[in-house]
């Protein structure tokens, strides 16, 4: 009691003290919603006062909600209804319950959710907002990554496509190259085959016309003889043409053989003059002039090829010059031989300068249409110029004329290179190797490969040269081409082996592995090139057939005309002729008739000559029958290779350039006791 009095507490003062912190307030309203009573908390926190409208407590737009609460509370006690109200000058949501006061008014109880809960809820909601936003960001990032990945994949696809494109292009290029290669190889095959196909009928014509002219089957009238002679001349002309075509194909394939010789420009020009004059068909309109230098110019190059070039250039110039002149001018310029063919003809447009040097690269012009040519002339000339180590260029003005300039070294590079090899000092660090060989290219090949193996090639192009070199140098070994000087070579070899000074020097014998030799190695006894000369045939047969009996001759050839020709050749002689139209038939006939000699065509359709030879040599009945191979065919490299059955000491020249052959030379040298050791070591 005293404490209550001391502290002067009562309900009102306590409520006032906690009003600000209270979470509950009570209100009473009359039937119109006017506040009739408000407790301390209501008054303090919401500003409620007696006489004001209950509905004014609600936040903006929340009056209706309080009205609805009030209406329901007049009927009966309500459940809690949440209403945002203005509280402490802020908007807070309170939960209200109401009930009738029994006098038409309403009693209200407001409850505020605990502040901590509201705060925590707010935090939770904010966290959720943030998490949800983070989720969006992550998804957006992964979408961006996905997009970039797609972009990358697209780029990769595009790259792959362009890669494929490039590869396709490459393969197309390869295809084109392959087509070109095939075309080239077909061309050479065509030329080789055409030469065969042309030659065979030509031989028939020539052979038969000769028989006709000889009057074996009855005499001809003079007129008929004249006709036959014309026929024969035409056939010979055609044969020359076929041979020229072969030359061109050889030059194109780089197979042409270089034959350098010493001559002077004036010698050459005078020869040229005589040769070219007849080409001038209208001397009244076109003059062919030759201008040569005062001083003599000495040359050492392939005269034939040089003259071939100039023949082409001059005949070309004459073709395109209707009036004016064609001048052949030669001079020594900076050590090179320069020959210009200057015409006053129609000229060549600039853009055609290179085109005309292409094969069949003729330009269109009315004059062109009148003149005939193969279109190979300039292409061949340029190739020949290159073979001579030089160039062929053109300068021209349309309407004024053209100048073709040939520039070549006065001494062919192969010749000067050979001279260098020939005249150089013996290197004491290397083993000298005497190479007796007339083909410079072969010597270069020896030099190229053997120099690396510690040898120095000392070349000799004749036995005479070799003898001279042997007199002052003792080589570690000798490589000898026994075919070089015929018997002289064999004698040289014999002398070398007899001489006690030199008998211990290893000598490697090399032979020209022409098809003839290889064919011999395979068992053929002769190797003839068509057309077969009747006299030679008869001589040969006479030498084979010595026992006086009637000689039996077997001809194996699938060309009926060739067999006929052979028959005519042997007609009236003491020969019994057997004819076989195929290889197998020939083999059977050889076995049954045992001929004294067999004439075998190199190119048989069903069975090739080698197989026929194999069969003949493999059978005791036919082994010893001499076989003469007859061919009109230019050999393919593969065929040549088949002919080359290398043995240890017989090397094939044709395969020298191949590394394998070089290895064999080395092996052979090693076997012969010539190593790569310093030269002193190999000397006795």
């Amino acid at each position: 009691m005293s404490s209550a009095a001391t502290h002067n507490h009562n309900e009102q003062s306590m409520r006032r003290a906690w009003a600000q912190d209270s979470c509950e307030f009570a209100l009473a309203c009359d039937g119109d919603g006017r506040i009739t009573w408000a407790d301390e908390c209501a008054r303090t926190r919401t500003g409620a006062s007696e006489g004001m409208s209950l509905f004014d407590l609600g936040a903006d737009g929340m009056k209706e909600r309080l009205q609805s609460l009030f209406r329901r509370a007049k009927e009966a006690q309500t459940q809690e209804i949440e209403v945002p109200i203005t509280c402490d000058a802020r908007i807070e949501t309170w939960a209200f319950r109401g009930k009738p006061d029994g006098n038409g008014g309403v009693l209200l109880l407001g409850r505020e959710p605990p502040k901590e809960y509201r705060g925590a809820l707010r935090q939770v909601e904010q966290s959720m907002t943030e998490i949800v936003e983070l989720n969006r960001q992550i998804l957006r990032q992964s979408r961006e990554i996905e997009r970039q990945k797609n972009d990358l994949e697209k780029t990769v696809r595009e790259l792959e496509e362009s890669d494929r494109g490039v590869r396709t292009l490459h393969s197309e290029l390869e295809d084109s190259a392959e087509v070109a290669r095939r075309a080239t190889s077909m061309k050479s095959r065509v030329i080789a085959n055409v030469s065969h196909e042309f030659r065979t009928p030509l031989h028939t014509i020539m052979g038969l016309s000769r028989i006709l002219l000889e009057g074996t089957d009855g005499t001809l009238s003079d007129e008929q003889r004249k006709q036959i002679r014309f026929m024969r001349a035409s056939a010979e002309e055609l044969l020359t043409l076929v041979d020229d075509m072969l030359d061109i194909s050889k030059a194109e394939a780089g197979k042409a053989i270089l034959r350098p010789e010493r001559f002077t420009v004036s010698e050459f020009m005078s020869g040229l003059r005589g040769m070219l004059r007849p080409l001038v068909t209208t001397p009244e309109n076109v003059e062919l002039r030759f201008e040569e230098p005062q001083e003599p110019i000495a040359l050492e190059t392939d005269r034939g090829k040089l003259s071939q070039i100039l023949r082409n250039l001059v005949s070309n110039a004459l073709k395109f010059t209707e009036t004016g002149s064609v001048t052949v001018y030669a001079a020594n310029e900076h050590g090179d031989l320069v020959i210009r063919v200057i015409d006053t003809g129609i000229g060549i447009p600039n853009d055609q300068f290179e085109h005309i040097f292409e094969e069949f690269g003729q330009i269109e012009s009315p004059l062109q249409a009148k003149t005939k040519g193969t279109g190979l002339g300039l292409a061949l000339s340029r190739r020949l110029a290159e073979m001579l180590g030089g160039t062929l260029e053109v300068a021209s003005t349309v309407g004024a004329g053209s100048t073709f300039t040939l520039r070549i070294p006065r001494v062919h590079p192969e010749v000067s290179e050979y001279q260098r090899l020939q005249t150089r000092e013996i290197d004491p660090a290397r083993a000298p190797l005497l190479v007796v060989e007339d083909d410079r290219k072969t010597i270069f090949i020896y030099e190229k490969y053997l120099a690396m193996a510690g040898f120095q090639v000392v070349p000799a192009r004749s036995i005479e040269d070799a003898e001279r070199i042997m007199a002052k140098t003792r080589p570690a070994a000798v490589v000898l081409d026994v075919m070089l000087d015929g018997e002289t070579s064999w004698n040289f070899l014999a002398r070398l082996k007899k001489d006690p000074q030199t008998h211990d020097i290893p000598v490697l014998v090399v032979t020209v592995t022409a098809k003839e030799e290889r064919a011999r190695a395979l068992g053929a006894d002769e190797f003839w090139i068509k057309p077969v000369d009747q006299a030679r045939l008869l001589r040969k047969l006479g030498s084979l057939n010595t026992n006086g009996t009637r000689g039996k001759v077997l001809v194996i050839d699938d060309d009926e005309r060739a067999r006929y020709l052979m028959r005519k050749h042997l007609e009236g002689g003491s020969y019994q002729l057997f004819e076989a139209a195929s290889g197998p038939e020939g083999v059977v006939m050889a076995q049954t008739h045992r001929p004294h000699v067999i004439l075998l065509d190199f190119l048989l359709r069903e069975m090739n000559a080698f197989d026929v030879l194999d069969e003949l040599k493999g059978d005791a009945r036919t082994r010893n029958i001499p076989v003469i191979i007859i061919t009109s065919h230019a050999l393919e490299p593969e065929e040549r290779q088949r002919l080359e059955a290398d043995t240890e000491v017989i090397l094939s020249k044709q395969s020298l350039s191949r590394e394998i052959a070089i290895n064999r030379i080395r092996d052979a040298l090693r076997k012969a006791g010539v190593g790569v050791a310093p030269p002193q070591a190999s000397r006795p």
């Binding site: 936040a59 809690e80 949440e82 908007i91 959720m128 907002t129 998804l139 957006r140």
Partner: protein
Amino acid sequence: MSHADLQPHEKRRRLSPSTAGFAELKDFYVNVQLRGDRREALHFVDRLVKEGHSVPDIQQHVIAAAQREIGRMWEDSRIGIAQEHMATAISQLALAQLYRYAQPLPARGRKVVMACVEGELHDFPARLVADALDLAGYETRFLGADVPTGSLINVLEQESPNLLALSITMPFHAAALRRQVKSVRDHTDGRLPIAVGGLACDQLKEITAEIRPEILATSAQEMVEAANRLFGLSA
């Protein structure tokens, strides 16, 4: 879960998303929300997507509709704030799930800052609009509930958006809206277009007539269409 609107368990089971109308789907979803079944809610959204409903359709006709229904239920005092919070949380989850399925249009090169007016605690409608804008190809910055004017101005300076969208759901935030719009206009010399949206707009005709925002929208769909028109972009 004593609520009268809750449907019996069996009926929920029989609902087929492929044949049911959106109203039915929405009712089903509201029930799931009020049961507080997060798992079922996500499963339901998954099924809707798999049955071939488009993401915007589900957002608008199921989830946004359900949220409006929840709001009405609160107004009618059929549910309390606690249930409303729970339902909204579930919808946030559902929206996140939907966002994952959505195929956004290619970027349009326009940036939108989305914020709730100062004091406005209901950020769910703003979330819906932000997602819709985002999927329509707009680069969207979502600031969430109750963004004070100072923070808003800072963000606008940093982001330099092409559009500011303000969300207001309760009419008593009208004064805050008026203040915030004025501040932004003052700050940007009126150059930044402002969009105002939310449930309260219908009740705030006076104030919107006064502040005249560049865009006034009451749904996400309306907002996207109005933004496209404003920037002259095709849908």
